[in-house]
């Protein structure tokens, strides 16, 4: 069974992928938030593995990572929390997103084994170089049936996009424009759309989800015109900050995007 493939087969348009940081706002919010997101209608879920120095992330996700680490989140705790998740959330694909260093210290093979055992379907490591993935890690990912997701940006060359597409068996993560997560679109009118159309016209094998700077219903719907769906992260984290009932706030956020 491949939950990612199933999700895209079940629904070809308007897929909502929700990102949140494990262990935020409180250590044991991870599973309740995950369940709430899934039940409220998120089609895929990315769990952020907090890192001290998240280079591709803007201030909101950075701050949530700092809080999560202070709460005691680490990979061992996360895998323990996710242990029975597939009894509670059987279908929704789960992707683990983070940075390479904590994964390397855990051991890539151990990480992949534990992640797969915990019910994860894919992994997003923005600072894992493509060549290193192919040379060192591809066979490990495959052995554990974990699918990597790679990023594509407006500057990614067409031949590199083709190569990324070839190496991918899940979806392509289209970064909407220059900048870290949670930033506003500062590009001139039409520039972003031209980029999305250019990628669409390449007729790639994998579906596409657009992320970075998507934060509400309007930006979600706009992005969905150019891809199979979109990814929201920072806006959810902002909604969770200071929430009395974090899972309820998460569910409410998803509802506000979808309805």
């Amino acid at each position: 069974m491949n939950r990612i493939k199933n999700a895209f087969a079940k629904k070809q348009k308007n897929l909502l992928n929700m990102y949140f940081t494990a262990g935020y706002p409180r250590l044991h919010d991870t599973v309740p938030i995950l369940k709430a997101l899934s039940e409220a209608g998120a089609d895929l879920i990315e769990i952020g593995m907090p890192f001290s120095d998240p280079l591709a992330d803007g201030p909101v996700i950075q701050a949530s990572s700092t809080v999560a680490l202070a709460n005691g989140m680490n990979l061992r705790v996360l895998f323990e929390q996710l242990k029975d998740i597939r009894q509670q959330v059987p279908e929704t694909p789960i992707l683990l997103m983070g940075y390479l260093n904590p994964v390397m210290q855990f051991g890539v093979d151990d990480f992949c084994r534990e992640a797969a055992a915990a019910g994860a379907d894919g992994v997003i490591l923005p600072d894992l170089p493509l060549d290193d993935y192919v040379a060192e890690y591809q066979h490990i990912f495959r052995r554990h049936n974990l699918r990597p997701v790679f990023l594509i940006t407006p500057q990614t060359a067409p031949e590199r996009i083709r190569r990324i597409d070839e190496l991918t068996e899940s979806f392509l993560y289209l970064v909407s424009g220059p900048g870290t997560t949670g930033g506003a679109n500062t590009q001139a009118e039409g520039v972003q759309e031209a980029y999305f159309r250019r990628i669409e016209a390449m007729n790639l094998r994998n579906p596409r989800l657009i992320g970075f700077g998507i934060g509400d219903q309007a930006s979600f719907r706009h992005a969905c015109q150019y891809a199979e769906g979109a990814i929201i992260g920072s806006a959810l984290i902002r909604a969770l900050e200071g929430a009395q009932d974090a899972p309820a706030a998460a569910a409410q956020f998803v509802t506000s995007v979808l309805n």
Partner: protein, 404 residues
């Protein structure tokens, strides 16, 4: 584990993927890939162009003031009963070796068609050196600096502003050099087309460690000529330099790396003590991991979270070292010594009083290692005097009791 495709031919040169032994590489998010790849494809060919070399050499001579003198420090020599020479990088324009690199990188940035320059800075010396060359070339300049460092290196903040640069505080983490580097990298992610990132040390993704080492290599190139003149041999017995990220050490070691008779000594900041929990002695406390796009030795916890370093010296307050230095440490080609804050402060006073030269706090760590070298009376010891102490005056006043 990412391993080199071919073994490195020498200590000097990383392999084609930027590895020195097991250290190096380019662990960067896709957003940075085109920029770093553009630089990787062009840096060697641009630097080999006669027009580039001519302009670079001319600026080093007429603007930076090179060659910098190699000064025989007779009173320090008498004190340590050995033959000590000081390579006077403190006499470079802007007061430290950092400008050797920024002069080269700004010429490179121009040839790559970039119009906007960003940099990170710890002690502020690299920030000043970057702001300086940006003023010279009429380019926009933004320097990221940890909020804590802005406070402890105030004069350099004002110098950068006077030179027309914008200084942006890094407010995350320990608000020091590591965090300033994170913010500079994030800026580059947000401005991928028009911006060149002038990294100030031999850190970061390939090709930066090699690029910066080559631009700083002029230090040891001059040392060899000057030593021949002064001692009759191009080769000293010891070359000593402080290491934060390691750019001045890389420059001072570069042309001696393949000379096994020359002992290379890298001096790290031990802060309050190597095992005090307040230290930046990466070669002792670090383990292999990834920081700022390269695999190197870094200070981290068991979960791979990067830990906060500490040193009184803003320029050495960094949880990693350049991959070349990690390799030199691993291969035992260089000896690593750690010096505590207090010993560094004492060395400031000693050098000031014995030689009439007030060194930077970073440099003082190298000077403080003199007593641990085991150098004999006939040995020639070259200390890379990487920077002058004017920027640290406030710290020296604050700790006057320990210094005097």
């Amino acid at each position: 584990m990412a391993s080199p495709t071919t073994p490195p031919p020498t200590y000097q040169q990383p392999n084609d993927r930027g590895y020195y032994g097991q250290f190096g590489g380019a662990f960067i998010p896709e957003m940075l890939y085109p920029n770093v790849e553009e630089l990787r494809q062009h840096y060697l060919s641009i630097m080999a162009e006669p027009a580039f070399q001519q302009q670079y050499q001319q600026l080093l001579r007429d603007y930076v003031g090179r060659p910098t003198p190699l000064f025989e420090a007779k009173r320090l020599s008498a004190r340590y009963n050995t033959r000590i020479y000081l390579k006077r990088e403190d006499l470079c324009h802007t007061g430290a070796h950092k400008v050797n690199n920024t002069v080269g990188q700004i010429l490179l940035a121009q040839r790559l068609g970039k119009t906007r320059i960003i940099a990170e800075t710890g002690a502020g010396q690299h920030g000043v050196a970057t702001a300086t060359v940006c003023a010279l070339m009429g380019m926009e300049c933004i320097v990221y600096m940890g909020e804590v460092d802005m406070e402890r290196q105030k004069p350099n903040v004002y110098r950068m502003r006077l030179l027309g640069a914008e200084v942006r505080p890094a407010l995350s983490g320990s608000r020091t050099l590591k965090d300033a580097t994170n913010e500079a990298i994030r800026d580059w992610i947000s401005n991928p087309v028009d911006t060149h990132y002038i990294i100030g040390s031999v850190v970061g993704p390939h090709p930066y460690p090699d690029l910066v080492a080559r631009l700083q290599a002029v230090i040891s190139e001059e040392m060899r000529k000057q030593l021949l003149e002064k001692t009759g041999s191009e080769l000293p017995d010891y070359v000593v330099a402080c290491v934060g990220g390691g750019s001045n050490a890389a420059g001072a070691f570069y042309h001696f790396l393949e000379e096994p008779s020359v002992q290379l000594v890298a001096v790290e900041a031990a802060g309050h003590g190597v095992h005090s929990g307040h230290s930046a002695a990466t070669s002792v406390l670090g383990t292999p991991g990834i920081i700022h796009g390269s695999r190197t030795l870094l200070m981290q916890d068991a979960d791979g979270q990067i830990t906060e370093p500490y040193s009184i010296s803003a320029g050495l307050d960094y949880p990693g070292i350049g991959p070349l230095h990690a390799f030199l440490s691993d291969a035992k080609r260089a000896r690593f010594i750690s010096i505590e804050d207090e010993a560094a402060l004492k060395a400031v006073a000693e050098c000031s009083r014995l030689e009439g030269i007030i060194p930077a706090l970073e440099t003082a760590h190298a000077l403080a290692a003199l007593g641990q070298l085991g150098a004999g009376p006939d040995d020639v010891v070259v200390i890379n005097l990487s920077g002058r102490g004017d920027k640290d005056l406030e710290t020296y006043i604050k700790y006057a009791d320990s210094i005097m």
